[in-house]
């Protein structure tokens, strides 16, 4: 169990699953970057972050819902939580509202699990705060305008818990891991700051660079 002081932003989870160095740059080093600002889909989030709710009969929709989990040590906001009306058997006529988190993403579905993990973490927060069980949620991708249902099975929950633990280890260490240059660096909005190609071991060192510059000068 974590205390409120120890909570880390929930959005850090998806950064961690994507790349530990990216996560460290954002959450340890607090790098500020306009690219990241826009890449995180600020514009898209604005319409769902209004904190308003609406009622559509069998579905209630809450936006910009504050969340936290002391088990995972995370706090943040859910873009949208839908509450689906579930009628009990006709004899009792008891109605319950089943929470169903929906996360909006600007781009297209990704190959790794980072979006699913983030959504699952939201579900775990909601379970903890509402004392209920949540089996499903959905991801909505702006680029494809498609909604995918996500099932919070044991495997995904385990991955989410592991990611949260690793996130706490990383942030507490205060150390930014070196880059591992790979294909995914092309889709990273922080590559200008991370310099994966330059800094990856075996590449141009500063000493070599200075020597090279000065030797070109030699007559």
């Amino acid at each position: 169990m974590f205390t409120e002081d120890e909570l880390i932003q929930l959005s850090a989870l998806q950064h961690l699953v994507f790349c530990e160095r990216q996560c460290a740059l954002i959450h340890i080093e607090q790098v500020w970057d306009e690219n990241l600002y826009t890449a995180e889909g600020r514009i898209m989030h604005e319409h769902v972050d209004s904190g308003k709710s609406e009622n559509r009969g069998d579905i209630k929709i809450a936006t910009g819902v504050p969340l936290r989990s002391l088990i995972l040590g995370l706090s943040g906001k859910a873009d949208v939580v839908e509450f689906h009306k579930i009628r009990g058997d006709s004899a009792k006529k008891k109605v319950t509202w089943q929470p169903f988190p929906v996360e909006y993403k600007r781009g297209s579905p990704k190959r790794d699990n980072c979006d699913k993990v983030q959504l699952c973490a939201q579900a775990i927060c909601l379970e903890e705060m509402l004392g209920t069980e949540i089996k499903h949620g959905a991801l909505f991708y702006g680029k494809t305008r498609r909604r995918f249902d996500v099932t919070f099975d044991a495997g995904l929950r385990h991955e989410t818990e592991q990611a949260a633990m690793r996130l706490h280890e990383l942030v507490e260490s205060g150390k930014t891991p070196p880059p591992l240059y790979g294909a995914k660096c092309k889709n990273c909005s922080l590559s200008d700051i991370c310099l994966p190609e330059k800094i990856t071991k075996g590449n141009l060192s500063v000493e070599t660079y200075i020597k090279k510059c000065l030797s070109q000068d030699a007559e």
Partner: protein, 343 residues
């Protein structure tokens, strides 16, 4: 690489800046002089009697737009600081490095290699482009001496030695600076560097440009989370931006000195645009200051290949790149600080 954003220079006395939605509005009395969307700006610099509304200050702080106030003559007065945030671990490491004599000497070496190498390149370029109009012998000698200084810097161990070598190098470089002025030589001459106050037109231009570049570098340091006040070659002194001054060294010859020379040599500034005060100090008039500001902004839009990153970037982004490289060195991603070396 990051897009080059603009700096808004407000030189109109009595102007008032306010926030309207996502834009900065410049007014004088009831007249609106201009509206600038904030996402196109990286900094706002106000000269003299210019007022700014607190909501705009807060908005700029939030959006990472640096805001500074200078006197009419370009002397720094104050800057707006938002809620302190950023990279605490980076700053702590920056201070640790500054506390170590060896680490400080290492940074100072890099900085001076950049400065002296770029100074030499300025001389060599001028020799190449204007050989027929220059005193070649003196220039070649000075360039050679700078080469010797460069070698000395690479083997110097202490800050003390490094500062000595820098003093010599600056002396060699400025001893031939007057030779680089090829038009309006009667009115624009350079004998010796004078700063407080500048005693001739060339020094007045140099000081003003150093101030402008320093302001941009300070902003770049703050943007990447470094503390511009704590330097290595420049020891901490109240009122002095040590790190920004360290990083200015590479850019003095490459950016400021060359711009001053081209303003004079292309007759873009006129002798009549300067005024001698009773004490002999020289200041420039509003018109000249505007010419310099516009030329500086235009220069920042030129493209260049960054020698370390091998990427095409705008000149105006160089400060940001160097600050970012310094931060990556501080955080141990790079084994040294790669200065900007102009080829």
């Amino acid at each position: 690489m990051k897009r080059l954003l603009n700096t808004l220079y407000v030189t109109t006395q009595g102007a008032y800046l306010t926030k309207e939605g996502e834009t900065v509005v410049v007014k004088v009395g009831d007249d609106t002089l201009g509206k600038v969307p904030v996402h196109t700006l990286c900094s706002i610099v106000c000269f003299g009697q210019v007022m700014v509304s607190p909501p705009l200050m807060g908005f700029c702080a939030q959006r990472n737009v640096s805001m500074s106030f200078l006197t009419e003559y370009g002397r720094f007065l104050a800057k707006v600081q938002g809620p302190v945030s950023g990279n605490v671990l980076l700053r702590r490491q920056q201070y640790r490095l500054a506390d170590s004599a060896d680490e400080s000497a290492k940074v100072a070496r890099s900085v001076l290699i950049g400065k002296i190498s770029n100074s030499r390149t300025v001389l060599r370029r001028m020799l190449r482009d204007h050989a027929e109009r220059l005193d070649n012998d003196d220039m070649l000698k000075a360039a050679e001496r700078l080469g010797i200084s460069l070698r000395k810097v690479q083997s110097a161990a202490s800050l003390e030695q490094l500062r000595g070598i820098e003093g010599d190098a600056a002396h060699h470089y400025f001893s031939v600076f007057d030779n680089l002025i090829i038009s309006q030589r009667e009115e624009f001459f350079f004998k010796v560097r004078s700063r407080r106050p500048p005693m001739d037109r060339v020094n007045c231009l140099l000081s003003f440009l150093y101030t402008l570049v320093l302001h941009d570098i300070r902003g770049a340091c703050e943007t990447v989370g470094l503390d511009p006040a704590v330097g290595y070659l420049h020891r901490d002194r109240p009122e002095r931006a040590g790190l920004a001054l360290d990083m200015l060294e590479e850019f003095r010859p490459y950016l400021a000195d060359r711009l001053v020379l081209s303003l004079i040599n292309l007759n873009q500034v006129k002798p009549s645009g300067f005024k001698k005060l009773e004490t002999g100090a020289v200041t420039m008039d509003d018109e000249t200051r505007k010419v310099v500001l516009v030329a500086y902004q235009k220069r920042k839009q030129d493209e260049i290949t960054h020698p370390f990153l091998n990427e095409k970037v705008s000149v105006g982004i160089l400060f940001h790149i160097q600050a970012m490289l310094f931060a990556r060195f501080t955080r141990n991603d790079l084994e040294g600080y790669p200065p900007f070396i102009w080829q």
